[in-house]
């Protein structure tokens, strides 16, 4: 009896936390000061049509660098935990002809779609993180169709480290040539709404996309086991 009483008390306390979190913000019909500044000044200051991208890459670029580092640490942790190879890989039935042919046809298209998503991150919905995940999903399809296939891990690590290096380097370029660390305005803003515009945002998002994509492919390759 006392056990249920304690559980109910805990549930009520948990609900009070949720309630207080949403109480002041729930029925909103206008933005607060910070967000309305992002919306008003974002297109003019950063030159990005997608304001989520403007926040992720330009206004809060330092946060994004931290998140990319967390992603890198998680990928390294998976690699560390799965480093001991299984002795005998269980022989499974080969994938069907349809799956193998379909994955061969789809893999270039999926990689192209991912590249499109991260290159157009400042114009349309999408960006580096989403494009990288789309690219990794193409490699997942390939792993399912051909479990015996190997990917070149050294090349993968090379892409990952070189894109991370250039990401930090473009941050330093912003520090020297523009207003501060990861300021994307060290390249000219260009004409608003075109592919090559918005300063260094397409460049930085491409580095993020390559890094996220290669890291997730590395995670999948480690989880594959052999």
């Amino acid at each position: 009896m006392a056990k249920y009483f304690v559980i109910i008390i805990l549930l009520i306390l948990l609900f009070l936390i949720f309630w207080n979190l949403q109480k002041n913000t729930a029925p909103r019909n206008r933005l607060d000061l910070l967000s309305s500044r992002y919306i008003d000044q974002g297109p003019r200051e950063v030159g990005s049509a997608n304001l989520v991208t403007a926040v992720v890459v330009a206004y809060r670029g330092f946060d994004t660098l931290g998140e990319v580092i967390v992603l890198f640490l998680a990928a390294t942790g998976v690699g560390f935990l799965m480093q001991k190879r299984q002795k005998a890989y269980p022989k499974s039935n080969p994938a069907s002809e349809i799956l193998r042919t379909g994955s061969d046809v789809l893999l270039p298209v999926i990689i192209l779609t991912g590249t499109y998503i991260f290159l157009h991150g400042h114009l349309t919905p999408g960006g580096g993180f989403q494009g990288g995940v789309v690219i990794a999903s193409g490699f997942l399809l390939q792993f399912l169709a051909r479990p015996e296939s190997r990917i070149k891990v050294r090349k993968l690590h090379f892409i990952e480290s070189i894109s991370g290096f250039f990401y930090v380097l473009s941050g330093l370029a912003g520090l020297i040539l523009a207003g501060g660390f990861l300021d994307s305005r060290f390249l000219p803003l260009g004409k608003w709404g075109e592919l090559i515009s918005a300063g260094a945002i397409p460049l930085i998002y491409s580095f993020i996309g390559l890094k996220v994509g290669s890291e997730l492919v590395g995670i999948l390759n480690n989880l594959k086991g052999d």
Binding site: D63, A75, F129
Partner: protein
């Protein structure tokens, strides 16, 4: 209001799974459900009734936009959640290789 309560219910479903299930894979799925409920909660905080997505083009320039800040935070949090779930699964696979089971009652070498 009802959406926030449903969000809380989703969190409780995940919490129930973490507390009561004995299979490690089911516990990881429950953790993922809790994570998504929190993501949903953050997105709902930034929601404004009748507003459009914060992507400016020539047609919707005068419209009201939703808050881009929670969306930007959750965008990265989803990918981090994917990576941490992969880390949890890697730990579960290592435990399975050592003990031959996913049942947490039988994984008890550290007990006592």
């Amino acid at each position: 209001m009802i959406l926030f309560i449903l969000c809380f219910v989703l969190f409780l479903i995940g919490l129930y799974g973490v507390v009561t299930k004995r299979n490690l894979i089911k516990i990881i799925i429950s953790i993922a459900i809790m994570e998504y409920s929190i993501n949903l909660f953050f997105i709902l905080i930034g929601y404004i009734k009748g507003a459009t997505a914060p992507i400016i083009n020539d047609e919707v320039q005068a419209a009201v936009f939703v808050d881009p800040l929670p969306q930007a935070m959750i965008l990265t949090a989803i990918v981090i959640g994917l990576a941490t779930t992969a880390l949890l699964l890697a730990i579960a696979i290592r435990l399975y290789r050592k003990y031959g089971t996913f049942d947490i009652r039988k994984i008890n070498s550290l007990k006592g």
